[in-house]
Symmetry: C2
């Protein structure tokens, strides 16, 4: 009896680990050979952590389970009648039970220019691109100011959910480090981090008191908040708002929401709900195909069982839902393999967390209790370290964080990849470091070197 798990994220690994306890052959398929600890991706994007601090080889994670096999391949389609998953390269993988945990990706909501001019922050590669672009913008700003007249670099974060809030807060700390410790000459008035959202408050998913605290903490870190603002277009110079205002920025980070890539999902015999999520029954299986389950970000999971006729409100696409749903379907499959009764999925809310920066975080528990400030930050730190996959990572993340906290960071502020340095655009004044006569005026509106989408 073979169970195929598509995806090595939180949902897929939770399912695989639980399935290992049953007498079943399990095959985990992923196009990447590593699991990504997404809640900390923003730390990689802001040069606080390394890629390998938040990513871990799936083989290493599953090493101890003799019944689990990893297949490094991309799943392209599912034939539910033949019970075969079609893989990249044209080969097929047959299954008795299938767990689809292929996750989601950044959503543009149809706003023009997002793909060309904005950076998403959902994968490890996204995080590396964001880091490169932000550091390049700061270096270019410093060079602009090489004549002693400091320049500025503006970074715009779109989406004031947890990811946006955490990214904006960490960016302001990164800029602080760049100025105070890397000796970049930046004008604090020109070097801004701006957080934009269509909603009227940050962290709209949390209690208003949490939103107020987060807004205060962000402002105290010199993050500009532009709330209740609808973005009509992203351009090479920034974003244009529906009310006609234009916000200029060298880098635009788009974390306004996620959507499910339809490539695989469209091959499933199921309807899709909001954001392309696959509609599932109360036990997370497909209607008419009880051997196929969809979990995590890819699934449209109702807090109640669909049978109860509950409202179409869906669970958020967060790690907790992914882990619990993956674990749930693994239990159901294990039960069915020995003809035991199955049950519907009931989500247990463990609360929400978001950190703004050093000694400033929020934890909102079920029932509405909220802790914040240093206490919230320590709780956040402890939880994430406990959840981090694999000891080595935990140890080194701890070293990084301790180092970062006690002495301002010697963080990995490396501009990696084949990224050209920005043109030097300074005009020279007294004691010129760069000579006026040789300078060409740059065209700010032309796409610049760098691995951002559409800039290649």
């Amino acid at each position: 009896m073979r169970v195929v798990v598509l995806g090595g994220g939180f949902a897929g690994l939770a399912a695989a680990r639980r399935l290992a306890k049953a007498p079943l052959d399990v095959v985990v398929v992923d196009q990447r050979n590593f699991h990504t600890f997404q809640p900390l991706l923003y730390q990689v994007a802001t040069a606080g952590l390394d890629a390998s601090d938040v990513a871990y080889p799936i083989r290493t994670i599953l090493r101890r389970y003799a019944t689990i096999r990893f297949l490094h391949a991309r799943a392209q389609a599912v034939d539910v009648d033949q019970r075969i998953v079609h893989l990249s390269g044209g080969s097929g993988l047959s299954y008795d039970y299938l767990v689809v945990a292929t996750g989601a990706t950044g959503a543009s909501f149809g706003v023009p220019g997002v793909a060309e001019h904005a950076l998403s922050l959902y994968t490890l590669d996204d995080a590396r691109r964001v880091r490169n672009e932000v550091l390049l913008a700061l270096e270019a700003a410093d060079t602009d100011g090489a004549d002693g007249d400091p320049g500025g670099g503006r970074v715009l974060v779109v989406g004031a959910g947890p990811t946006g809030v955490e990214t904006a807060g960490a960016l302001s700390e990164l800029i602080d480090v760049a100025v105070r410790h890397d000796g970049l000459h930046l004008d604090p008035d020109l070097t801004r981090v701006t957080l934009v959202d269509i909603q009227s408050r940050v962290l709209p998913g949390l209690d208003p008191r949490a939103s107020e605290y987060a807004a205060r903490a962000l402002r105290s870190r010199r993050v500009d908040l532009v709330l209740g603002a609808q973005i009509s277009e992203v351009t090479a110079r920034g974003v244009r708002l529906a009310d006609g205002r234009e916000l200029c920025a060298e880098v635009v980070i788009w974390v306004a929401g996620v959507t499910v890539d339809g490539t695989l999902a469209s091959t499933l015999p199921a309807l899709t709900g909001g954001g392309g999520r696959v509609l599932v029954r109360g036990d997370l299986s497909l209607d008419g195909h009880p051997e196929v389950y969809v979990v995590g970000d890819a699934a449209a999971v109702s807090p109640r069982r669909v049978e109860d006729g509950g409202p179409p409100r869906l669970l958020p696409q967060i790690a907790q839902v992914a882990i619990q749903s993956g674990d749930h379907v693994a239990r159901q499959i294990s039960h069915r393999a020995v003809d035991e009764p199955t049950a519907g999925f009931v989500y247990r809310d463990r609360g929400m967390m978001a950190t703004i920066g050093r000694r400033a975080a929020i934890a909102q528990f079920p029932g509405g209790r909220i802790i914040w400030g240093t206490t919230g930050w320590l709780a956040w730190l402890a939880l994430h370290l406990v959840y981090l996959v694999g000891f080595r990572n935990r140890a080194i993340v701890l070293v990084n964080w301790a180092w970062r906290y006690f002495k301002w960071p010697s963080g990995p502020r490396l501009i990696l990849g084949d990224v050209a340095s920005r043109p030097v655009t300074s005009l020279s004044a007294q004691d010129p470091i760069v000579d006026r006569d040789a300078v060409q005026q740059p065209d700010r509106s032309t796409p610049r070197a760098g691995p951002a989408p559409g800039r290649r």
Copy 2:
């Protein structure tokens, strides 16, 4: 009085640090914002260390020197008459003294196919490409063996100098880990690391006893040695030798030697010697331009002063020469700034080192004394940790290495970048994991996905 240093490698940083002790304005220019600890690049390429373990932001390194300024730009040409360095973007940087420390790059020696089918190992990006390609080859081999009949992945290392020996030794350990700890199904007879050199012995630059020890240690790690073999062509399937033999490999790593990129060097009014290295006078300055110095890998440095009429034998392109030559010219500039007498460059040989793997390394000291085995390995480890730039790196490298040594590694075996997984090529036998009927026969000779040169 401004000194411009082109390049943030060993030579450039050694020069900058020494210049900081004199009352001079120093500008360090590099197209990358980080220094690379090249002696450990092979560890990144073989997934033992992370990029940030061997790379460190130049700004962080130079943070403590008030008179040093970093400029993130690419130097494109030198106008020695105007005393201006032309930078990317068209601007110019004037100097009173110039230190050219722009290093070298991999040399193909005109062998066809090197650029298209082989990977070099000189920059951090090179190391990341090698890691990706090697891990992809192993994953593809494992998938080939998914029907229980294990496959193999062959890696060819061209050049049996220290880099080639260290890379080959580390690759064999990486494969050992992949099989024993990551659960890859590989046939040990099909999974081979082969070290090729035109010379008749490995480490030809060292004492023959060292070569013998290295050859023994490599063979004991199941590395195949093909010596005295001239390569006539690199193809998509491996390399072809002058005697007609063909060595098949999924990955070819080309570390046969380095050459100086002529882009900048050709704008200097100087002759070039072997490997495009710029010919310098005994004090490392240019003939006719005593204010321009060339140091490190970019310079053709004679062990004796040219005035002595010594033979054209040149110093090796290694870190020790780079550091000592950078330091030397900084002293000369400091002296000349206060009209003190200058001196020619005399290289002090500190010996050579190479490691084959855990508890197996060689250190050859001036005078010919050699230590090897565990003692040599501990000496090698200590020296490299001491030399590593920046405490944080040293600390984390130590954690990584200790971890790697005491428990077989949870190393960063991540396939990063936009790398597609290889097509699954298995044919299925009994208990097929991949179904025969759906399989397409792959064309092994077609370029595969991956960031290797010419494969994009």
